[in-house]
Symmetry: D2
């Protein structure tokens, strides 16, 4: 297995791009060799082009790299790229990279619904990566696109997958309380959110209603995915939290659990398909169930297992929907850059990179 | 109609007590003539005893009043008392005042489930006050107890009452995002809540599940209330907001609305039973429906109509539960001290005070 | 004295413009009859053009007014305008209005250093308004420009003026902890300031060093002002506060006070030159000295006297600089829109409007 | 050199105690073998006794340890203790441990002014540890007490020490903007500090005025320290920041620097006395000077070099005091638990432990 890769970051100066840079600093397989951003940034050093907002210093090797425009021309010799591009440009740019034979591991929403584009959470639907074979973005067969879902979808499907397997799901109702980092930088104005809640996030609820169905769907022999068929009803609000989305979830199950302990055992005993793969970014325990009522909390638990864990709490049987719980995951690590890195690691293991 | 009353405040130094003092400063009917607090505060001036936390100055007339212990002895000549007492002492103290012939308008939870104790939101169940006639706390018939509900329950029943009348209710699922002022002072430590969410508030969810049923129930001829019978399933979390609880609510209705406009018309055209009564604290519009997705917000709208209004937003028909919306009300005004004052005003109009 | 004026707001959709609209809602003399904003907003209703961020509702009469471009053409019949314009356009636009015979009461910095432009805090240097007579922006003599200072300067000169009169000032060292509302909207990104401090505000410190000297200077017979001559050394930082700038000030005095009580007496007994004028926005007590160590606080005291008061606390004699204290004022009321309105009121009284 | 030590934590359940536990988790020399707390906690497991507030999980080995009362009886076999005790009990308890022959490395203020007690910041005054030899708390000579200073004092003396050596210091004026974690847990109520500043911290300013003088003083041949003699004038305020104290400092120097570059060179070239010692907690660069105006920021830079670095920014020559700058350090790492650990490491190197 090849394990040394030269990677590029598209959208390198943005919030997700910065998280890619932070997370890849000491990655054992992937080394950043190219940084792509807008024309405005091209030609500058990264230190000049980016307003670094991470709470750890920007790696010194990155600071002095020159930022390029997001054109495959400037990414010769790069094995694949991570994309933190804005959705306003991702369709064109990511398509161009794939067509040029450079695989794109994307956090943007643009290709998530593509017929043969894996929408991937490695612990949940690892087999979906094989859709790649049907992709025709690059006639030579080398370039392709793989996506990770919306940041709320990740902890949601992590919590739902074991329930789907054990009980079957009728429907899901949730309220997602989302951190400001999800809106990028400059993102949410402080005057809007300090000591406040904004009860709407543009475009978010439809994604939460649809993406889990593809993730929890079944890969067909023709390379397409047959979506799961239960409805998901979401209210997404912005809260004054820096990192970590907290979801208040109620689920109606097809087969009724006899006790909350039975549900917790399902989560605790769930067989993680990545368990034997030794992927560097795979959390040892992708799901942890806490019994302490006051947990999980964004500030305390978002960075558990380097931000790659989903923590479930307050699980209880309820009269209307059978089951209610809260779930927390780091929105820009597990829900964005870290999830994309784990996707790339799985692609390496499976021989696609 | 008598309109000049000497009132006392029990629990005067606490967060709710301070809100009573602030709200009553220029009340046309009620003048504060006595302040009750713990033994520790008794004998001090109010300025000495209280750590004033309101964002407007403490009224000068109150500052120099001497705080008394919460004993009816020290409340001679007082027409009635408002109680912001802690639940650990409210059973005994409020009972003693009622027994001594001093009506108690209470914000504490202790007597809310009392067989003949009105749990009152004047716009929702004004007729329930007549339960008072069956109360026997004071053999002489002069003392009685009236309560207002939990702070989350108020905007919830304000939103549900018109729906109940127009469509009937099958069930309600909600997540309540609650401001720190709901926990009193010192209340929530800053280390727990700054930039964070705590997904549990002790004792809150059972109250949200039960109190709306009494409020939306029917007064029987024997003076008891027959509870409404639909289930309410709540997740209550603490958010870093100072004032204003925001509820994310999903409702299943017995009769299905044809459009969201039909639902909004039900709210907008709802006949407010207080409309003709000219109560000083009654909001002109107890319910307002906003069409702007980003509203209502705690910081912007909690103090609309002096904090006595409930604002509904993001109303939409949904696949699972028929209807979803958010609702906001000021937790310590509409949901506590202001609600209690409105209760007292209705009692005046109805001849009970 | 004419007391009914038709006024216009320049920069009406911005943060300061919104504060003008909020504060003028029930003004006894001034009625908003025209709203000016950028070309982008021109032609829209105010409700469409503005993203209202005040915590009280936008007045209904304003919501439906049509916004005009900031061209004097569209302000016929307007007696004068308040300007909350951005400094990038204020030089040209304010100059054009003055030239067209429409007096400009401006919050922008552009003309503050103008030779004959009053930089005015009515309690501090009311006589400076007579510089207007030398202005030549409008050959007809009708149009002129009057400015209010930077938001930090206001509480600073309010605190310094009595000290200057009583003791004389050698120098001033301060750290100003400034609220996010001072940066307008969208202003400070939440990712920059939640749970954080940014130790720099572009352009702020030079203004704090120079503006107090003009305000505390002396009007000369030729209509110019001779600046006061002591140095002011400032560090301006942004803090996660919504409204209210808090200043930590150390002052070296020419004549040494014998006790802190002597200093406090100077502040408490200071003769307010507006005391007899009955200006609607003049606070009864422009300076209040609090003896409670934990006061003043932005959240609790910024809106004292409708946001027009300066509160001084923690005054104490110190070894190095003689005197240290903290001072608080509302940055967008007293330090911006409210200060400009008070300026206009003084101009009315003095016959300039 | 012995490098394996069994250590105890006094005040283990408090905020500083938790930080000791977090920081010592993988310490190469020190292993926690005993936990001491109040009688109320004694006998419980640590997981039961402590309300864990750190943003990383409590180490599993600690969770199951049984908490003991703070009595030397229960600390047999412990080489030394770290104390995060509250000052209300530290005098007695720390004295008892020292008397029992167990060295105490304390974060409490109680013994800081002791005649022979080192008040120690290893980079600043490493030679002061030799005062220990004169201590008589333990007649056998084994037990002793070493203290670290107040959390504001640490970054202050780190910044001042090179200035003192290069220029000499006339006086220092500062405003310290202090994080809520400095007040421990539950500490500052959220209602006091969210979106607010409290301009007073009880007992803080006198410590900031006196402790730097001992730290920057000279060890005498009799084991006492002759304090430095310049005055320090501080205003300490509480801000809504979780971790990291930011100081706005102005310094008057005896010899005037010709340029700000000269000052920065003094800091950058300062010879760190720990440079060759390879102490595990010693930062590679204890002082870093940043040239970016908007830095340092508590959220971004408090954890630089594991929270052990002091970052200086905005350095500029000023008219009144010669030099102004801001300085940041992590208040509970560098300013408390981490500083104490570094003290212990130096004591190991110097043969005192």
């Amino acid at each position: 297995m090849k394990t040394q890769y030269s990677v590029g970051i598209l959208g390198a100066t943005g919030a997700v791009g910065q998280k890619f840079i932070r997370l890849l600093e000491n990655h054992p397989w992937f080394t950043i060799k190219a940084l792509g951003a807008s024309e405005r940034s091209a030609g500058k050093t990264y230190a000049e082009a980016a307003n670094w907002i991470e709470a750890v210093p920007c790696p010194g090797t990155i600071k002095n790299m020159t930022v390029a425009a997001c054109d495959p021309e400037f990414f010769k010799g790069i094995d694949f790229v991570f994309s933190g591009l804005d959705s306003s440009v991702a369709t064109e740019v990511e398509g161009a990279f794939a067509a040029a034979g450079i695989p794109v591991i994307s956090n943007a929403k643009n290709y998530r619904t593509g017929k043969y584009v894996p929408l991937l959470v490695p612990e949940v639907n690892p087999d979906h990566i094989h859709s790649i074979k049907q992709q025709t973005y690059d006639p030579s067969g080398k370039g392709f696109i793989v996506t990770n879902p919306n940041c709320v979808t990740v902890p949601l499907v992590m919590a739902l997958k074991p329930l789907q397997e054990a009980f079957g799901i009728n429907y899901v109702i949730l309220t997602s309380m989302q951190a400001v980092s999800g809106a990028g930088y400059p993102g949410v104005p402080s005057l809007d959110i300090m000591g406040n809640i904004v009860p709407f996030i543009s475009g978010e609820e439809p994604k939460i209603a649809s993406e889990p169905l593809k993730l929890l769907g079944e890969l067909q022999s023709d390379g397409t995915v047959k979506d799961a068929s239960f409805p998901v009803q979401a209210t997404a609000v912005r809260v004054p939290v820096l990192e970590g989305h907290l979801l208040s979830v109620s689920v109606s199950l097809k087969n009724k659990p006899a006790s909350i302990e039975e549900v917790e055992a399902v989560w605790n005993n769930w067989k993680n398909p990545l368990a034997e793969l030794n992927l560097p970014f795979a959390p040892e325990k992708p799901i942890v169930v806490t019994k302490e009522d006051r947990y999980p909390q964004p500030r305390l638990h978002s960075y558990d297992e380097n931000g790659m864990r989903t923590t479930i709490g307050r699980a209880r049987l309820t009269t209307i929907t059978d089951l209610s719980f809260v779930a927390l995951a780091h929105n820009t690590v597990r829900g964005a850059a870290g999830g994309a890195i784990l996707n790339a690691e799985l692609l390496v293991k499976e021989g696609y990179l």
